[in-house]
């Protein structure tokens, strides 16, 4: 699966899609495929303040737990509550299955994130492929 060119990526395998001052966050296809069947997500609440690079939740497959790291700082404006009952959507389509939306506190933080091409190169390095 390709990594959408319009998104920005973290080295912890989250993506963020930005429209104006609002960001939408999910995990990458590489992340879902490494985890395997996802059965559980733990997400913050609307109004919670996230900090760039800090843990904001977790995602669990049958075998493993993985922390979620916020790509940028901001306040949570929406949480994808449907993932509580259907976490497997992340496996089915990681690119369009969002977890949280937030109001960006420091839009300049986006510059520190990876482009799709950089992220793909990073994955290639990590997997040695």
């Amino acid at each position: 699966m390709a990594y959408p060119a319009g998104y920005r990526y973290t080295k912890e395998h989250e993506w963020i899609s930005v429209a104006g001052a609002s960001g939408t966050v999910g995990i990458t296809d590489y992340a879902q495929s490494s985890l395997g069947d996802i059965v559980f997500v733990d997400l913050p609440k609307v109004g919670d303040r996230l900090e760039a690079g800090k843990i904001f939740g977790s995602v669990e497959s049958v075998k493993a737990v993985s922390d979620l790291f916020s790509p940028v700082s901001g306040t949570v404006t929406a949480v994808n509550e449907e993932l509580k009952n259907a976490p497997e959507w992340i496996n089915a389509d990681a690119n369009s299955t969002w977890m949280v939306k937030l109001d960006l506190a420091k839009p300049a933080e986006l510059d520190a994130l990876l482009s799709a091409a950089q992220y793909e190169a990073f994955i290639a390095e990590e997997t040695g492929k």
Partner: protein, 382 residues
């Protein structure tokens, strides 16, 4: 001067390594072996075994053969169950114990014939087990010990359709093999294949032992998959093997059983035959534990009540937050669709329906003690 280095030895591979890679399996280090953890996906593989059939490469398991007029005495000394009760063609679950009554390993003892026993041991403990066997019985009279671990490719065909799958590849009447019995037969044209009705999934199934050369192993593997295609057989990895055995509350070495957990704590006392008429390693310790009123802690089944997944090593606490034990294995249960765990707790907290808390990354999440096994297959009426 070069720095003292202690390089990790390369991972060992079974004869089916290339086959797993061709199937695009995710490979992991399991006890020093590079093994497939999943192919199509853990949940699909787990469900295939519960509803149809699954095929596992378990060639990393070890095989020790004890032969000679002294072999029964040796098995009796080495293992806690009573091997004198076995008939030729019969297998039994057993364990080799330390003098403290804790586990060197759990094993399956097969009586091939009088004076001839095959002991199947775990992969991660192979070297330790072989050394232990030699140290404990090596000097006993009239016995020959052989380590045949690398001689076999061991395949497990498991699930309600395992018999129908394997029957297409052999003339041996499989329905005549009872649970925990075995025979020899021609499988995929190979003569004298040991066919055992054993497994580690809580489901009906077979384990077969074929020559460990790569072409033979790969051929039989693919013939089993072809034979099972009509039952939607899936190649299954260690991930599904673990969740299947956990739903069935079967012990995993290094988790439910180890050198720090004794037989009674592990709830395996029914396999320890203290009155079998011969001494065995660990017997005195077990007798002393019995005389002292039984174990102080024991393994229990847990089912999460609140939202959260208890995993291996997570602390188990009272509802007021006092730490009382820990989870030995915990996971979502794909067939039961619950979050389950096995945990070792003091006996006063081991009563059914007792509510405890599991500490999940700093949060206390409620769970209750439930009966094990969590899953039990419907037995065919015979």
């Amino acid at each position: 001067m070069s720095a003292a280095s202690n390089p990790t030895p390369p991972l060992r591979r079974t004869a089916l390594n290339a086959t797993h890679r061709a199937l695009r399996a995710k490979m992991v280090d399991f006890g020093g072996w590079e093994m497939p953890v999943e192919y199509s996906g853990l949940i699909a593989e787990h469900m295939a075994v519960r509803t149809g059939a699954g095929l596992f490469d378990v060639s990393h398991m070890g095989d020790i053969q004890l032969r000679g007029p002294g072999s029964l005495a040796a098995v009796q000394h080495l293992c806690m169950n009573d091997a004198s009760k076995l008939q030729a063609g019969q297998a039994q679950y057993s364990a080799m114990l330390t003098p403290d009554g804790t586990f060197v390993d759990d094993v399956v003892v097969h009586k091939l014939s009088d004076n001839d026993y095959l002991i199947v041991i775990n992969a991660g403990t192979r070297e330790k087990d072989v050394a232990w066997v030699r140290s404990q019985i090596g000097a006993m009279p009239s016995i020959h010990i052989s380590d045949y671990s690398d001689f076999y490719t061991q395949l497990a065909i498991q699930g309600p359709k395992a018999e129908a799958t394997l029957q297409k590849l052999t003339d041996t009447e499989l329905s005549a093999i009872k649970n925990y019995w075995f025979t020899w037969g021609k499988v995929c044209g190979l003569p004298n294949v040991l066919i055992a009705r054993t497994g580690y999934t809580g489901e009906d199934g077979f384990e077969i032992y074929i020559p460990s050369d790569e072409p033979t192993s790969a051929r039989v593997w693919s013939e089993v998959l072809n034979a099972g295609a009509e039952f939607c057989i899936q190649p299954c990895g260690l991930g599904a093997r673990n969740t299947l055995r956990l739903e069935s509350a079967m012990a995993l070495y290094g988790h439910e059983i180890s050198e720090t957990i004794n037989v009674f704590e592990a709830g395996l006392g029914r396999y320890a035959k203290l009155d079998k008429g011969t001494d065995f390693v660990g017997r005195d310790a077990l007798a002393a534990i019995q005389a002292a009123g039984g174990p102080k802690r024991r393994l229990v089944g847990l089912e999460m009540i609140e939202r959260g997944i208890g995993r291996d090593g997570y602390p188990v606490c009272t509802v007021t937050g006092e730490r009382i034990g820990e989870i030995t294995s915990g996971s979502p249960a794909p067939f039961l669709k619950k979050n389950i765990a096995l945990a070792c707790v003091p006996v006063q907290y081991a009563a059914l329906d007792e509510v405890v808390a599991v500490e999940i990354r700093g949060q206390m999440v409620k769970a209750k003690i439930v009966a094990t096994p969590f899953y039990k297959r419907a037995r065919k009426s015979t």
